[in-house]
Symmetry: C2
Subunit: 126 residues, 2 copies
């Protein structure tokens, strides 16, 4: 059911942003498939749970306190879904540190929707 | 057939890089679906053929003379395919100006595979 997939993926996005706000990098990594990949700016591709947790821990160390996600498109293709949305990164004082867009390829991994490919970049001027 | 899809998408990538080298921004834009989107760094989402041609024209004006694409993954999902690969941008003297990774969502548009969502970011240090 398309609306079920929307709801399941929204729920993971909420859990992702909650885990981020709590500084739980390992919790975030668990939302990715076992062969999940991050494609961040200024980095080669980051592969697997341990490296993904390390990346998010590093981002938390930069003073980015919150990640907000606003989904704008979800293309459901059976056990895969492609999401496009907007992210906003917030600092300790609530100020916006960065805003941009993301593209996530999701996989239904034994009943749980998980992030499989996750890439994003800033929309702010250079 | 999976190998046919691989071949068809490889062929579009070759035509894309050829069109780029020839400075044919409108030709590049025609490789995108009618509702195609670019998600470039330092930019909001760019939508539709005219704006996509304008973006590639702008990039050509920056002195980037060549785009090389090396596909590393193609996940075929019926009439959609998700590609991950590495790009290299070259200058007039053949020097590498930038290298990074890309993620493209392809759609089979009436028999022609076209870029539907196209995003990338640099892998070089900040």
């Amino acid at each position: 059911m398309s609306s079920d997939v929307h709801e399941a993926i929204s729920a993971v996005n909420r859990r992702f942003t909650d885990a981020y706000a709590q500084g739980d990098a390992a919790g975030i990594a668990a939302f990715y498939t076992d062969d999940g990949q991050l494609l961040p700016t200024n980095s080669d591709i980051i592969r697997g749970h341990e490296a993904i947790a390390g990346f998010w821990q590093f981002v938390m160390g930069l003073g980015i306190k919150t990640v907000a996600l606003a989904s704008s498109e979800l293309d459901i293709l059976g056990e895969t879904a492609v999401e496009v949305g907007q992210y906003t990164l917030g600092g300790a004082d609530g100020a916006t540190i960065d805003r941009g867009k993301y593209l996530v390829v999701w996989k239904n991994d034994g009943g749980s929707w998980k992030l499989h490919r996750d890439t994003w970049n800033t929309s702010m001027p250079a």
